[in-house]
Symmetry: C3
């Protein structure tokens, strides 16, 4: 007998004060009471697709094989954006076609992508225009978890036709520039620049000059923020192996005044020109 | 053999920073390690009975049959308000007799209501005066989940004697007035006015004038806030089929300066006089 | 067959916005998909060892026997502080050797303490310097939950060599002084002074003078904050049987201007001199 995958990982920007996440769970439990539900977070930054995409991209590989990711960061809910199910070799991703799934699925071997269109698989005959997390997405996750086939939900969509959201970085002349992908609740600022860039160009203890929003800052390259002095800007690679700026027991975000999507550059003796996607 | 219901849905205003919710779960797991625990939210607005009642009322129907709702929004903890267990045809509701359960149970077919009085079913011989969520309510939920009968907990209470909290709206002359029931974390303002009032009196795209706290605002009637312009007040029915005011990627709460319990009126060509409870 | 303990209780200061808690759960579920995971809280005050230690100390006894406590409040992550596993008669505690486990384990009968040093039991060959919650601690909890023996992780550590963090109070002359251990999200201020001190020295309804940060305040001794008037400072013992200062539907923290670690004294007719640890 086929073992039914029953791990469901939820990522939403619904916040933890309201009942939106709870109701999504309720819908899942009604169909599959035994599902193991984990939150990547139920409190991703509202409407922030880059932040949501980062949280999914950096998390999903740690989950067991066959985990179903239920992602509802959906500022376009009720408009024409498509609800998707993406089956990859190892996982299933469910969410709106607005880029939030893109960096994660781009890293995986994609088997099939379908648009959720079959209204018989919606929660009710008349669904809301504002809460597709309940009415379309969570019921889809629950149905997938008990073995309903992807093709039942709707027609296939080509990967090339998906809404793109790329995590890129590029080198030119004397700098490497990437994007701020995420500011965490400590105020640490994660970028799209991978750790090798730091390791190949700088030594631990050296100062690295960064440029962001037209201002320049010196950061000391350290192994971890535990080594930082009070209020000192530190540069290191974070737990997801991306270059991050932080302050020990402080907020680099406040000092740099940045947010997701801002360009951030490391100055230094970098040779080759290139452009990459992480 | 009777299938033991084991879904427990928790709603509290304890917040997510402290250990109050965790300790309630601990108490449940000690008695019924296999219980499936879901949070409606563990972070309902502190001491706010209207908000808590709204979150329960709008959520409970999505949960599986036999779910036990453990509701601890209890500003009167340690005073004389009664701890209740309400068995309805489909669910069990546990919480203080302060109105927070009222709108939900009023929508259900009530089988029996008992006051929790049997001290032998408390967590300890000496219980705290401040944490009945742990000492009385969560242990009751756990015991119910393993099959302990309601009558064991205490005497029956009549529905008529419960503390009331009604979600009403009424029409008079040229307006329909209801209450602000809930402001969600996006700043969307949900009211006690059901969607039919909007649908029967206005057309999509029309402006609806609302009156709240002595000021008037024009809102455009749309299918979903995804269609709104920057900073534009929108009126629509929300995921729970109640009239709501919102701003696309913004906060209607800040613009209207409202909170739970405030009166809110829709102006327009409404014929008949009536008074209803949702 | 030995019953595998599978309750894991998580306490972190990672917050609920980021994916750090979710990734820790993912790591656990990959190894032990059936583990029951409960959060004491995933949002303890950042870097605050006293607050974290208080939350663990006041919670752990409510959990079922054999629960594994996974505690990641770890401002020194990536520096030389030791990762520990502490097996007591009833529980297992996993976390950094920075005092956060100390008050809890000191209350238990300790069987064995080991330092996690065996890199084969880390999550990967190259681990991060910033996220030992994922790379060292949560995988250790998962492995313990499926029966891996403590000695596999590393050498024994003596209790006497642990980093200490004591919750003490002492009497001298005319006052009893303790520490502020925790300010909860309502603004209630919990101290290290046990309830007996109040009960033995004061009567319900009496005023108790407290001294904190060079200012003095009168508090009325009540059974529960439900009895308080608006803005009135109340003193009572909290749900964990410790002396607490609160205001009914208000914040004592704001009025007293205190935080964890501050000294707080109760003035009154106390006879004997003593010094105790709770």
């Amino acid at each position: 007998m086929k073992r039914i995958p029953s791990q469901i990982a939820i990522l939403t920007d619904f916040g933890l004060n309201d009942n939106y996440n709870g109701v999504m769970e309720a819908v899942i439990r009604k169909i599959n009471p035994e599902a193991k539900i984990t939150y990547i977070t139920g409190n991703s930054k509202p409407f922030n697709l880059i932040a949501g995409a980062y949280l999914l991209y950096t998390s999903y590989k740690y989950f067991p094989r066959n985990t179903i990711f239920l992602v509802v960061i959906d500022p376009g809910v009720g408009t024409s954006r498509r609800p998707l199910i993406v089956k990859t070799k190892n996982y299933v991703f469910i969410g709106p076609d607005n880029g939030v799934l893109y960096p994660a699925i781009t890293s995986e071997e994609i088997i099939k992508i379908v648009e959720i269109k079959n209204e018989k698989l919606y929660l009710a005959k008349t669904i809301s225009n504002t809460f597709h997390g309940r009415d379309i997405f969570s019921i889809a996750a629950a149905l997938i978890s008990i073995g309903v086939e992807l093709d039942t939900f709707g027609n296939q969509v080509r990967y090339e036709d998906l809404t793109k959201l790329d995590f890129t970085y590029k080198s030119s002349r004397n700098e490497i520039c990437g994007k701020v992908l995420y500011v965490d609740h400590f105020g640490n600022v994660a970028t799209s620049i991978p750790k090798e860039v730091l390791l190949n160009n700088f030594k631990y203890g050296e100062n690295v000059e960064i440029k962001v929003n037209n201002s320049r800052h010196k950061c000391r390259f350290v192994k971890t923020f535990g080594y930082g002095m009070e209020n000192e800007l530190l540069i290191y690679f974070n737990g997801y192996f991306l270059v991050e700026i932080g302050i020990n027991k402080g907020s680099a975000k406040d000092k740099l005044n940045v947010r997701e999507g801002d360009e951030i550059c490391l100055e230094g003796y970098i040779q080759e020109d290139f452009s990459h996607s992480i």
